[in-house]
């Protein structure tokens, strides 16, 4: 992990309501780098993000649409954002439900652009 990746992740977690930001290997779901403001089971988020991205790759390929650029899972107690983070990487953010979705979305897309 480089200081640049850590800086990018730290920038995301500075947004109000963001609990964790992760850089995940899309191939095997392993955490490459992370920034958490509170204790989180980040390995579970990483593994899930990778599996989901793999399934959605099959979906978009099947329907001949472009690859997934952003995913938002909404749950009763929080949210999970996933976006492509460059070659073989995923950006994942875990947030509360009162977060500004648009702000987190843009921050992740910006983060992905800075890492790529």
């Amino acid at each position: 992990m480089t200081s640049r990746e850590q800086t990018v992740l730290d920038d995301v977690t500075r947004i109000g309501g963001v609990r964790s930001a992760l850089l995940v290997s899309a191939d095997d779901g392993l955490v490459v780098a992370e920034s958490s403001v509170e204790g989180q089971h980040t390995e579970a988020a990483a593994a899930f993000a990778a599996r989901l991205a793999q399934r959605l790759t099959v979906l978009t390929r099947t329907l001949q649409t472009p690859p997934m650029s952003m995913l938002l899972l909404q749950a009763s107690g929080g949210q999970l954002f996933i976006t492509q983070g460059g070659e073989g990487l995923l950006f994942v953010a875990i947030t509360s439900n009162d977060v500004n979705i648009g702000e987190v979305r843009l921050a992740l897309l910006d983060a992905a652009g800075r890492i790529a």
Partner: protein, 270 residues
Amino acid sequence: MTDDIASMTLKLAQDPASLVFLPLAESLRKRGQLDAALTVAARGAARYPELADAHDLVARIQSDRGAGDDAFDAWTSVLRLVPDHLGAHKGLAFLSYRTGDLGRSVKHLTRALELAPTDTSLAGAIERLRTLMATRAESVNPPEADRIPVTPEADRGRPATEQTPTLLFDQQGRVMQGTLARADGVDASDAVAAALAGVSREAERATRLLDLGEWRAIAIESGAVNYELRTPTPETLLLVMRGREVPAGRLARIADRAVERARQWLEDIV
């Protein structure tokens, strides 16, 4: 074999920390006693979380049970501990093949072949998969970015902005209602349902581990197309798709209505 199992079972009972759980679970697996094998292997893996072979054994048992997601988890744990674990790469190649992700399957097989260069069966499998991928590529038109798949029959005649391809399917990947088609008009409903079957269980597990509560929706952006995945009932999934010109918030409302219609339809057919 039975005597061996009895002997090993006794040994494990006398010494729960014994590594005899590995051959015991393997023997049970080979006899087809998968539930018992899983119990033994999972306990062993919990006791020795750093033992890659224990997770590999759990993965193989889960794979035999048809629990691909759990097998994936276990083999991923193996690679976390031993990145060059031959069995894990073979296993993940198999799971990827089973879910239709041939590229990923080839990738794992290629790594396995690097680890076991004299294994001619791996080279043969890679060649067969590459041939299959080439055949598939020739059988469909090349993807055209940002094209929206054709609409279902019910939407024909409506303005493009009001068309909402929707697919209702069960957790086993069986289509129940609706149609989704590729950009060239070929029905892709079964393939989509198969690709997304099991997502709900994975989402449940992930949100539970992350203490996020019950999952409600998954919104996906894909170029000019947005998708929204819902679970109208615990047994079903609903995928709604619209062009990017429909904002995410509005697509969520459209999905709300589709969920209500799906629930009503499910009640009516019972």
